[in-house]
Amino acid sequence: MAIVETKELTKVYGRGDAAVTALRKVDLRVEPGEFVAVMGPSGCGKSTLLHLVGGLDRPTSGRVALNGQDLSELSDDALTRLRRREIGFVFQFYNLIPVLKAAENVALPLVLDGVSPRKAQSQAQLWLERVGLSDRTDHRPDELSGGQQQRVAIARALASEPALILADEPTGNLDSRAGDEIATLLRRVVDEWKRTVLMVTHDPRIAAYADRIIFLKDGTVVDEARLVGGNDGAEKLVRQRMEDL
């Protein structure tokens, strides 16, 4: 069964003259263990798609199913629980809670889920180690570099052991070296820790880390590419496709 499945997913913002159709009948399947990148020009609806898949927003029509569960049937509380347990988010602006230390930020979803603080803390420690930040656990977000903050955010997304990681421009705010580090980390998330990643990005170089790329334009899926082989070839291919759009 697909981990993510959308059927004729449509999102319209505003109404009347001001109505903007951000997504138009999008059908999408993501299989478990896949690393999928979503690309497309600015304003084509990439973030909107991610928000709908993550249950952060509700579609105008069509449906989203996670592991066969239709999100439109869930109450706000049930959606919240789902986000807590089944989905991990990584955003462009890291979005850490500024008053919490790195480890506390990572432990947050666990604590919210009622895990004992001690257990949550040790789990957080473990994930910080895995993303290579074991020496930064007691630092506040403003004491960390952008790349480090994003790694904390990834650790947080993984801490509750969700099956699906959603990342919206996770490297958008980073220089290319830090961007590569984050993309490599996401690759490990799929290969080593067997999670599924759905990532939005502008950057062909970052998209080239994915297994599959979905191209979006004006709210519809216009193309799709499966990547095999080395990064360099993939990157070239992606650039080519982007220019075609």
């Binding site: 928000h51 952060l56 706000d76 919240t80 988010f89 979005n95 500024p98 008053v99 919490l100 919210l112």
Partner: protein
């Protein structure tokens, strides 16, 4: 939960200054409520401890229903009741010891009021147990001797052989202390005992007593005997002791209401500041909250987090407020105590904090914080996870909601009803609702008002003024929050200012009107019924015969009862009283009213009493007297200064003597002939008064001056409190202004990037702050003026007749404060804005 507390603490700690200031606001309100309510019972306790007659262990106590005296023959009726074994009559009254003669107390003050019991030396020991500590008991045939209670003896270092001078109807009498007796267990009142005939002569009540105590025959049914005795006595009697000093109680309760009004307004202010802060907090943290929601925090968890923060502040603030309140009560006690004992001849103890006071202060302190945090918390719960992802553009949630404005308008209407109800409690609730309504209506009015003030500001600040105005118009909701902090503060200030000015001028008018005589022979307690011993007719005669005295009038006092209200019944001479003194009438014609008093059973009711009983001129009332019920017609409604706070009726002295058997003069007023030599007259009067130490001679001018000074001082104290009230609104203003800058970091960055100088950015922020405070000041002034006007009206409805005085100086002050605050509040944020790192500002978001 502990995790939320930790998170809440971190957030609070992250903004130390703001946390401290908001907590202070709550602490402040709690402090006032707790402190004031701790002080008021201290006043009550002063009465209770010093004046309450010890409850005795007798089977039967009978007193006059109106607290007045009755003939000794009643004693025989009780003795004749089957089942009564022993009975004894006594005359018990509080008596103010003339200060010149009073023994010194260890604390340096002088003994004030004591309770004098005239007892029958033969029969009293049959019904009560008197345990001699030293000396002896009273014996038949004793004349001017006293037995004193142990507590008084200890307090005033009195022992057998000492002498004590007490005032009497004919001047003064010297007593020798012959014994000290142990009081009833637990009794702490300052009691002295003297033979009944001596007390009767002293108090000008020959042949009269006011208490009968009896024991029943062992084995008989005490209750049945009580009923039988009461039945045989007929009407006008009741079971149980007289509550000595209950006249004063009413005055104290009045003060309590005023204090609570003040405290409630302060706490409302504190609550508003918490509310304001948390609304700000929610805006400021929208991204954090959205983030929490995105990673799986439920709505309830978010609401819980905000409420935890407010609760933490509430708990800490309330605790600090309790401590502060304790010291406030101590301090106020130290300031007010001496004035108090001077005016009323009672010494004030330390503050008393009853469990109910704790409940009130803690409940209000924490309750207000929670309630104030609730709305922001709920709106925080409504923040969607998407907010974490959008760049901060807070406008959407700050649009002026028409529905909210309509609700605010409804609140104002309800408030007006409360204020107009004539009930002080409802009125104070109304005042709070009114302010709340004002805050809700505010946002709708921001745009037009900002336009007007903005144009004014443009004249001064040109370009920056226009930007500031634009900023306000773009976010009328948030501008209104900021301005409302100012509004609330100033409205309270101006309302209280108007109220105190009106109160002050009202009181001064009463003083001038009713104490307008050239000379006053004043008793020592300002509350006439508070233990003053009146003089017989000789004193008035003596004063009248002084060459150069044109006219003398006297005031007499007895206690009566109308319906179930105890009323002071004041006897005046309808001829001379209006000429020498006078009443301030609010209904009826003075001339007709006084004439009616002279003609028959008619009375003039004072404002408090007529408001309590909703009296109409011409109505007939039944006055309970020892002679049975008597019908009096209301001839007018008017009041004098000394009795303004107590339910009082004025009747002719003739009727007072006939119905209530009171003929002593408790206050004398005299006018000088136009051609008399003031020094000469005064010297003569001094000589007379020297013989009557219960009185002191005051020239009218002196006395009015003295009262005015006293009230002036109280008013200054009130003004000081009001100014401290303004501080929290400064905090609130600074808070919201700070947030303004924070939210516009990027905008400011852009302004700087396109070439605004630091100075220009600074001027823009200051301009905006000035605009906001001008807005707040305008609203505050209007609201406050109106509120003050209505509060004075509410006071009027309670019978305290006064007209509203426009607080000119208060307004000037308010405008000055408003503008100065506007600049002060802007300085910090303006500095921050100007110092902003350009690149950081642009990178923000």
């Amino acid at each position: 939960m502990s995790y939320y507390i930790r998170l809440a603490l971190r957030y609070l700690w992250g903004r130390k200054l703001r946390t401290i200031l908001t907590t202070l606001a709550i602490a402040f309100g709690t402090m006032l409520i707790f402190g004031m309510n701790g002080l008021v019972p201290a006043v009550e306790a002063a009465y209770r401890q010093q004046l309450m007659q010890a409850a005795s262990q007798v089977d039967l106590t009978i007193t006059g229903e109106t607290r007045s005296s009755f003939p000794e023959t009643a004693l025989e009726v009780v003795r004749g009741t089957p089942g009564v074994a022993h009975a004894s009559g006594s005359l018990v009254r509080p008596v103010v010891v003339p200060p010149a003669d009073a023994p010194l107390l260890p604390d340096g003050s002088r003994l004030g009021t004591i309770v004098l019991s005239g007892i029958d030396p033969e029969t009293a020991p049959q019904v009560r147990r008197f345990e001699v500590v030293s000396g002896r008991l009273l014996q038949p045939g004793d004349r001017n001797v006293l037995v004193v209670s142990e507590s008084l003896a200890r307090k005033a270092s009195l022992e057998p052989g000492d002498r004590l001078r007490l005032p009497s109807a004919t001047g003064v009498a010297t007593f020798e202390i012959v014994g000290v007796i142990a009081g009833e267990p637990g009794a702490v009142s300052d009691e002295v005992y003297t033979p009944l005939p001596v007390a009767q002569a002293l108090l000008n009540q020959p042949g009269r007593i006011n208490t009968i105590e009896a024991l029943v025959v062992p084995g008989s049914d005490a209750r049945a005997v009580r009923e039988a005795a009461l039945a045989r006595l007929g009407s006008g009697f009741k079971l149980g002791e007289n509550q000595v000093g209950s006249e004063l109680q009413a005055a104290v309760e009045m003060g309590e209401v005023a204090f609570n009004l003040f405290g409630v307004l302060t706490l409302a202010m504190g609550g508003f500041i918490i509310f304001n802060t948390f609304r700000t907090v929610v805006v400021e943290r929208r991204r954090d909250i959205g983030m929490l929601r995105a990673v799986g925090a439920s709505r309830r968890a978010v609401i819980g987090l905000i409420l935890t923060e407010s609760l933490l502040q509430g708990v800490v603030g309330t605790a600090a407020g309790l401590c502060g309140g304790y010291f406030l009560a101590l301090g106020m006690g130290a300031i007010v105590g001496p004035i108090w004992s001077q005016a009323l001849r009672l010494s004030l103890g330390g503050p008393v904090f009853k469990p109910a006071t704790y409940v009130l202060a803690i409940g209000l302190g924490i309750g207000v914080t929670l309630v104030a945090g609730l709305w922001p918390a709920v709106s925080a719960g409504r923040v969607t996870p998407l907010e974490a992802l959008r760049p901060a553009e807070g406008e959407a949630s700050w649009k002026p909601a028409r529905r909210r404005a309509a609700f605010g308008l409804a609140l104002v209407v309800v408030a007006v009803l409360g204020l107009a109800s004539g009930n002080l409690n409802l009125a104070s609730l109304g005042a709070v609702l009114f302010l709340a309504g004002l805050v809700l209506v505010g946002p709708v009015l921001v745009r037009p008002i900002a336009g007007v003030f903005g144009r004014l500001l443009e004249l001064v600040l040109a370009q920056e003024g226009r930007i500031a105005e634009g900023n306000l118009a773009r976010q009328p909701g948030r501008a209104a929050i900021t301005a409302s902090a100012m509004t609330i503060g100033l409205a309270i200030l101006v309302a209280l200012g108007g109220m105190t000015t009106s109160l002050e001028s009202g009181l001064f008018r009463y003083i001038d009107q009713s104490l307008g005589a050239d000379y006053l022979l004043m008793p020592h307690s300002m509350v006439l019924g508070g233990g003053n011993v009146g003089a017989g007719p000789e004193l008035a005669e003596a004063v009248r015969s002084v060459p150069g005295i044109a006219e003398v009038t006297t005031v007499r006092l007895a206690m009566g009862r109308i319906g179930d209200t105890d009323v002071q019944t004041i006897g005046i001479d309808p001829e001379s009283y209006p000429r020498v003194a006078g009443l301030e009438f609010s209904a009826g014609e003075p001339e007709e009213a006084f004439a009616a008093l002279a003609e028959g059973r008619a009375l003039i009711a004072n404002g408090i009493f007529s408001a309590q009983s909703r009296l109409q001129v011409g109505e007939e009332l039944t006055l309970q007297t020892p002679e049975g019920p008597k019908t009096y017609r209301v001839a007018g409604i008017g009041m004098d200064f000394l009795n303004a706070k107590l339910a009082t009726v004025y009747v002719s002295q003739e009727n007072l003597a006939r119905d209530l058997h009171e003929t002593s003069d408790i206050l004398l007023m005299a006018d000088r002939a136009a051609d008399a030599d003031p020094a000469e007259v005064r010297a003569q009067l001094e000589r007379i008064v020297a013989q009557y130490p219960a009185f002191s001679l005051l020239s009218g001018d002196e006395m009015r001056e003295e009262y005015k000074q006293m009230y002036g001082m109280a008013m200054r104290l009130l003004h000081l409190l009001m100014v401290t009230l303004a501080i929290p609104s400064l905090i609130a203003l600074m808070n919201t202004l700070g947030i303004n800058v924070l939210e516009r970091t990027r905008e400011i960055g852009v302004l700087r990037a396109v070439g605004s100088t630091r100075r220009q950015v600074q001027r823009m922020i200051v301009g905006e702050s000035l605009l906001l405070s001008a807005l707040g000041t305008a609203f505050g002034l209007l609201g406050g003026l109106w509120l003050g006007y209505v509060l004075v009206g509410a006071l009027n409805a309670t019978g305290f007749k006064m007209s509203y005085f426009f607080p000119y100086s208060g307004i000037v002050l308010a405008v000055a404060v408003g503008l100065v605050f506007g600049v002060i509040a802007a300085l910090l944020p303006a500095r921050r804005a100007a110092r902003l790192d350009l690149l950081a500002a642009l990178r923000y978001e």
